[in-house]
Amino acid sequence: MHQLSYIDNGLNATNQYQKRSIKKIRLIGLISGLLILSVLVDIATGPGNFPLTTVLDVIWDKTSHGIKLEVIIWDYRMPVALTALVVGAMLGMAGALMQTILNNPLAEPFTLGISSAASFGAALAIVMGVGLAPNVGSLLVTVNAFIFALCTCAVLLGMTRIKGVGTQTIVLFGIAIFFAFNALLAMMEYSASETQLQRIVFWMLGSLGRASWQQLSMGSLMMVIVLPFCMSRTWRLTALRLGDESAISMGVDVKRLRIEILICISLLAATAVAFVGIIGFVGLVGPHIARMLVGEDQRYFLPLSAMLGATMLSITSIVSKTLTPGIIYPVGIITALIGVPVFLIIIIRNSKERFE
């Protein structure tokens, strides 16, 4: 009798786990569907709206509806819609990875100063014409932003190598970087001419308007490299969330894992910010919703964070075009408007946990 109940309970726990896993896979499928739909609507939306069937026709056969639609959809709208998808996925993934390795739900490229460093790099190029890489021509602003973001990540990476420096110290250091670069940026803005100031502000607002097939392919390539690399480390990343001591005793090389993942974050964040400017909160909100939906088994958490980041930016892109007819708002403004209330919810939830 005891043996029977033993088997029953065991089967019950196993069934519960399997049901949960299937539910998570279904959810990821559902979000994928939503993402595809959102990208199609994004392509269909603009100064002239097209039916989804027309959009699908033109994607399938470029010339099916004439040269005008081919140019609008293939040359203008698809790069923008797909950039929203790729950059959103990059930011969602970078945020999720950062929160995991730093054990802090508020960590993301924006809050840890990487975006501020990129802004300063861009401003330096706009105001002083100073570039860190030679012979980059019209890409001076983008390359400068990329290099500054990458250097900031390298500094954060260097911090992890210092003995006795914990994850909280790295987060605090990131916040200090955020303020330092913002001060430098303000100084740069103060000495800028009216035209230069306009360019800096426009760059910082975060816009998908600069999207091109060339940038899109570079961003996609980055995702193709980073995503499988991180997915092959999902068990170890989940183990890290149980605390460093537990992870080490399970055989995880915690230091090496942090460095590898921080390099991935650097590449994702620096590429995203260099292409579209500052888009805050996607890296914060995407992983937070993913955590609420599927928990922190990184096999589900990482891809879902990326998908939710992509969906969020894609929907934002649609909203930015439809809010006021004839005006396309920079997406950075819209994401921040959605992000702020979510940010507040996280803070309130955390303080509740602390007082319980």
């Binding site: 309970n9 537990s246 096999r299």
Partner: protein, 257 residues
């Protein structure tokens, strides 16, 4: 199979925490309690065996092999360590967290045998009812039980438990120590646990080792160690020893004059 610590020294900067600490052969199926006052170096000793801190000199021999020669993965396979601080705010279910302990080194897919192992350990520790709950929603004691399950499911050769009963009520203290004792014997494990309760140590452990001021002062069977003046001196108490009608040793401790 046995575990031996030979003249182990560990320093944190200029602070010498372990000073030539030596433990004589601990055999398979034995449950040893590491006694010692706070800050005696118990956690450091566990961390040194588990590979979390590097000894400055001395050796740890498992099965005639110096474990410093083992790779990180090999060491983790043989030695499981439950840290003193196990609280986590991670959003994982109890089942997932135990499964993680099995899967962290291996393939992406979960096999049916993995699931069976997890459900078996949940049952052995009588925590099947918690399987689908998030760890962060559990009480301290429940989290401690789950942390124990994560250790035991790995079927290691050596288990190191740093104060495994600190957050548990009396029922769970007895239940967990009984389960550990049973698994130690049936699965032929070498178990070392740091406990503060001398009576629990006397009841469940085959051997006691006293660590004080970074050195192992004595090691032996409970009836030989508990009456020693060195134990009373280490804790700054006076002790008297009785044999209860149930055949267990009972230690009565009073603050020293």
């Amino acid at each position: 199979m046995s575990l031996v610590l030979d003249n182990l020294n560990v320093n944190y900067g200029s602070n010498e925490v372990l000073k030539n600490a030596s433990i004589k052969s601990l055999n398979t199926g034995s449950f040893t309690c590491l006694l010692g006052p706070n800050a005696a170096g118990k956690s450091t000793l566990f961390k040194a065996i588990a590979g979390l801190v590097k000894p400055s000199s001395g050796s740890i021999i498992l099965n005639d092999v110096d474990i410093s020669t083992l790779s990180r993965k090999e060491r983790a396979k043989k030695i499981a360590y439950l840290p003193q601080s196990f609280h986590s705010n991670v959003s994982l279910t109890v089942f997932e967290s135990i499964l993680l302990s099995l899967k962290h080194q291996s393939a992406w897919r979960v096999k049916q045998t993995d699931l069976l192992q997890v459900s078996t350990i949940l049952e052995q520790l009588s925590i099947s009812a918690l399987a689908d709950r998030d760890i962060c929603d559990l009480s301290g004691g429940q989290q401690q039980m789950v942390a124990m399950a994560r250790i035991l499911v790995r079927s290691p050769e050596v288990i190191l438990l740093d104060e495994p009963t600190s957050a548990l009520d009396l029922h769970y203290q007895l239940s967990i120590l009984s389960a550990v004792k049973e698994l130690t014997v049936t699965k032929k494990i070498i178990t070392v646990a740091a406990l503060h309760d001398l009576n629990l140590a006397a009841k469940f452990c085959d051997q006691l080792a006293l660590l004080s001021d970074g050195r192992i002062k004595t090691q032996g069977e409970p009836e030989d160690v508990l009456g020693l003046s060195v134990l009373a001196e280490a804790y700054k108490v006076t002790t008297s020893l009785e044999l209860t009608s149930g055949g267990y040793l009972y230690v009565d401790a009073q603050l020293a004059g």
